[in-house]
Symmetry: C2
Subunit: 219 residues, 2 copies
């Protein structure tokens, strides 16, 4: 058997790769559970590997540091939330309702997953992570609204950036208690008016009942 | 002379204190000049003390680290800008014009002081610094608008947080080139609509000529 053959043979590599992916998944899942239970401050690598039933040393085959796994957990959580919220939101026919649903649903993240949300808002670079998770869905909604004449938006990029930043800041404000839990209504209303939805209609849409949604559905 | 007397005598302490304040001011001013010229990446403590005509070792009597002086410079710059913009903005009789002027003027910060703005957007915690600098002025404007019936705002805190975060994100977007230089118009228009200003009026106010303003006036 030549070296060439060894490289070409997919079997050993395939098995090793699958094992690595599985171990990484177990570490992430354990870290997520621990963060949700106790927050990120007290998180220890030894606790993660123990909960994942792996040796302490194996951790560094997958993540450089505690911060790296926390960031990966949050990227996963956000990607799941964005997928769940974004897919459901795009089912509404009216882009105004899509936008209102998404904004309000994201604001509730602070209630649904307080520990994860708290870790998220403390993470350096979290805002970019948040923005890039919801960007594809938000962009689609804004473009749909603009193209149909439902929204009056001159600058989609500015609008996306502003809304993502405002929503993220509002989540932080709710977590810190500076902003009350009813903020989702006035925030959605203000956003819809900003998009050019008539005032009475903006208020009505922002106060509609929200369909329930399992945020982990996309996980 | 007893120890008691030495402590009670204000003269020597007064002189020392004045010298310390003056040295700190010189370090800050040198750092600000250097950052504005070359950005924050290349900034060296030795260059700062040389430009301030002070010994290298004295630096640590005033600042813990390079990051600490950069943060202090930016806090100063922001406080000056907020004072200059905020005081001028409050001269407008219409809170909608105050808000539009302030938003647009802050967005131009990215043009007026590109190196300082770039350092600002890279600084950890810069967003909080930005928000707290403009908060007193912004709060006054929003309350004035709400109380006079000019603005339809249910939740002042949410509104402040959202606008500060959106403006800061827009400045970052302009600096990175993701958002075009005309964003100040559509951003101000969107904001005014969000505050409950009628659509035609929001557009007109957002496009008014801006009075000139020296951002360092308050420095």
């Amino acid at each position: 058997m030549t070296d060439q053959d060894a490289v070409a043979d997919p079997e050993p590599l395939g098995r090793r790769e699958r094992r690595k992916i599985e171990a990484r998944r177990r570490l992430l899942s354990a870290a997520r559970r621990l963060i949700a239970e106790q927050g990120g401050e007290e998180l220890r690598i030894g606790d993660i590997t123990a909960a994942a039933d792996l040796g302490f040393g194996t951790f560094y085959n997958y993540f450089e540091s505690k911060d790296a796994i926390v960031e990966a957990v949050l990227a996963d959580v956000l990607a799941s939330a964005a997928t769940a919220i974004g897919s459901r939101a795009l089912e509404f026919e009216d882009p105004a309702e899509t936008a209102s649903f998404s904004y309000r649903r994201f604001l509730r993240f602070a209630h649904d997953e307080p520990e994860l949300a708290a870790v998220l808002t403390q993470l350096v670079g979290a805002e970019d992570l948040f923005e890039s998770s919801l960007l594809p869905y938000a962009r689609k909604t804004l473009e749909r609204g603009r193209d149909s004449g439902r929204f009056l938006i001159d600058d989609i990029e500015l609008c996306l950036t502003s809304i993502a930043a405002a929503a993220f800041a509002a989540i932080k404000g709710v977590l810190s208690g500076r902003i009350g839990p009813d903020a989702e209504f006035s925030g959605a209303e203000m956003m819809l008016r900003g998009f050019g939805v008539g005032f009475d209609e903006a208020r009505e849409i922002a106060h509609r009942d929200l369909p329930s949604l399992d945020l982990r559905a996309g996980a």
